[in-house]
């Protein structure tokens, strides 16, 4: 663990006293490696370590903390300041239906997460409608319909012949007619560099003005997370992130990078394949996980 590594670096520091610049640089090398091994983006890690250095150089070794623990404490605090607030909510509209759009790269977990969100919202007293706007992936509509049946949550779909913009607009109209309070739009996975597909998201957004645009990010994403999330944010505009597959052993550094670069809040964590596997975001737990 990082604390053990830093303790080794600092055990030459005999008693109490100020940390010297050299002590701090040795420790920061370990911090930087830990962050990179946790998939934190190269530049984000560099900027982060620079901020930690600023705080650590000249600081006193506190009370009973070892110098290593002192640096870890500063690192932990800096991580939390980037990772943001826990428990951010979905902003529900005073005039239903609230429209929540799920976007992201292929295979990140959007369809499964849409179902999870629908279940979560229903448990909270909402009446959700799922909208199947992925007309490209084979059996994507069937996947959402099957999930809807399992949960007894309605799914609006028009098969694969229609334009996703039309499907979404019709889905929201259906929600309004049927008294659904939230419409959850499942969109097709797409590359941030696929102009046509990104334009489709922009057209959907302009047509129906969603209250939430949530990027689903796979927890095991590496350095590319910043590029992809940055492009989605710039082109479509995001209101939140959902980190999926957090039940694995990926360190999740992509979350730190995306937070640092886009400032978009993490709203939920996907923690399993079943539809009840959705948890609120705990930044302190993610910080410990990233540090390893």
């Amino acid at each position: 663990a990082l604390t053990t590594k830093l303790d080794a670096v600092f055990k030459k520091l005999a008693g109490r006293g100020r940390l010297s610049e050299k002590d701090v640089d040795d420790a920061l090398r370990e911090v930087r490696v830990a962050l990179l091994e946790a998939d934190v983006h190269f530049r984000v890690a560099r900027d982060f370590v620079a901020r930690v250095r600023e705080r650590a150089v000249g600081s006193d070794v506190l009370g009973s903390l070892t110098p290593g623990q002192q640096v870890v404490k500063i690192v932990h605090e800096e991580l939390l300041s980037v990772l943001g607030e826990g428990q951010p909510r979905l902003s529900l509209s005073p005039t239903p239906p609230t429209v929540v759009m799920l976007v992201g790269l292929q295979g990140s977990g959007k369809t499964t997460t849409a179902a999870k969100l629908a279940l979560h919202l229903r448990k909270g007293g909402q009446r959700p409608l799922l909208v199947a706007a992925d007309v490209y992936r084979p059996a994507a509509v069937e996947q959402l319909v099957t999930l809807g049946k399992q949960l007894d949550i309605p799914v609006y779909q028009q098969g694969i012949a229609a334009d996703p913009v039309e499907i979404v607009q019709n889905g929201i109209r259906r929600a309004r007619e049927q008294g659904n309070t939230v419409a959850l739009l499942d969109t097709a996975g797409r590359l941030h560099v696929d102009d046509e597909m990104m334009q489709e998201l922009v057209r959907i957004k302009e047509r129906i003005a969603p209250h939430e645009v949530l990027l689903v990010v796979d927890a095991m994403t590496g350095q590319d997370a910043v590029r992809a999330a940055g492009d989605f944010h710039q082109q479509v505009g995001l209101t939140g992130l959902i980190l999926s597959k957090m039940d694995g052993d990926a360190r999740g550094g992509a979350a730190l990078s995306v937070r640092a670069v886009t400032g978009v809040p993490v709203k939920f964590l996907g923690t399993g394949e079943k539809t009840d596997a959705l948890e609120p975001y705990h930044p302190d737990r993610l910080a410990s996980r990233i540090l390893g």
């Binding site: 490696v33 990179l36 091994e37 946790a38 998939d39 983006h41 190269f42 790269l105 292929q106 295979g107 990140s108 977990g109 490209y136 992936r137 084979p138 059996a139 994507a140 069937e142 996947q143 959402l144 319909v145 099957t146 999930l147 399992q150 590359l191 941030h192 560099v193 796979d218 095991m220 994403t221 590496g222 350095q223 590319d224 997370a225 590029r227 992809a228 597959k245 039940d247 694995g248 052993d249 990926a250 360190r251 550094g253 992509a254 394949e273």
Partner: protein, 279 residues
């Protein structure tokens, strides 16, 4: 613009380190590669940045070529290919592409829908089968994946099929019960044919970071992976963890996925891959 510097200074090594780390090559493998390059350029009289650049590319190609891809088991009838990997990496889509690839060589292909868990997994594979001309053996949702694999191999023998490709459910390698289930699928195949599965292909998403190495280790430990397929290289991710996988585990890369249509599969070529990673 990495190599417009006039000399081999620390700035150049830093730039190379950033290029590799940013491609998900990882800290340890990056250090190993750069050490090897430094050792090589030390033997050159007036090494230029171009020398370093070229030496690095050569080191990377050498790393990727070191585990030779085993020749396909062409005498097996049918040849059995088991496809495994974590959730959402592109297994089912890749199987569709592999089936098209074998079909284009005139082979009869049968697909086993052994993902009996995920919603519409069977339907997804069936659509791919229709698209590329491969029959699909499937059971009802919740059925035992081993039973599907068994029936598929039986059917393949009786129908004179050349290749059976077994699709499995995505599973995180940390889930012990799911890894046990996968081992059981493999044992079922072995019971029918001691040589089966002739290939165990791990599908890895190019956007995956350091976790890819843990995935490769765990799946190899469980079901003896014979090769890796790197998908989604049509994005901006470089899949550099493949270098760590080759270096540490000696697993060959066999194919790359470059899109969502049946044709978007190419044999892995180290030189092409390295040129894309380090232009």
């Amino acid at each position: 613009q990495l190599f417009q510097r006039g000399q081999l200074d620390q700035a150049l090594w830093d730039a190379l380190e950033e290029a590799l780390i940013s491609a998900d090559v990882g800290v340890a493998t990056t250090e190993r590669l750069l050490e090897a390059v430094k050792a090589r350029v030390r033997q050159v009289d007036h090494p230029s940045p171009e020398d370093a650049h070229l030496a690095l590319k050569e080191e990377m190609v050498r790393t990727l070529e070191t585990p030779p891809a085993p020749p396909p088991e062409l005498s097996a009838c049918p040849r059995v290919v088991l496809v495994v990997g974590v959730n959402g990496v592109g297994k089912t889509t890749t199987i569709g592409k592999l089936a098209r690839h074998f079909r284009s060589q005139g082979q009869r292909v049968l697909l086993a829908a052994a993902d009996t868990f995920r919603a519409a997994a069977t339907e997804q594979l069936q659509l791919w089968g229709e698209r590329v001309g491969a029959e699909v053996v499937a059971h009802q949702p919740g059925a035992d994946p081993g039973a599907v694999a068994f029936d598929a191999l039986q059917a393949a023998r009786s129908r004179d099929v050349d290749v059976v490709i077994v699709d499995t459910a995505g599973r995180l390698h940390t889930k012990v019960n799911l890894m046990e289930e996968l081992k059981k699928v493999r044992r079922v195949l072995q019971r029918l044919d001691p040589q089966a599965p002739h290939e165990v292909l791990l599908v890895l998403d190019a956007t995956t970071g350091q976790n890819g190495l843990l995935q490769a280790r765990a799946f190899t430990e469980a079901v003896e992976v014979t090769g890796v397929i790197l998908t989604k290289l049509d994005g901006t991710a470089k899949g550099g963890i493949a270098l760590a996988i080759c270096a540490d585990l000696g697993l060959p890369l066999v194919f790359v996925g470059t899109g969502e249509t049946p044709e978007d599969l190419a044999p892995f070529d180290p030189a092409t891959y390295v040129d894309a990673l380090l232009p």
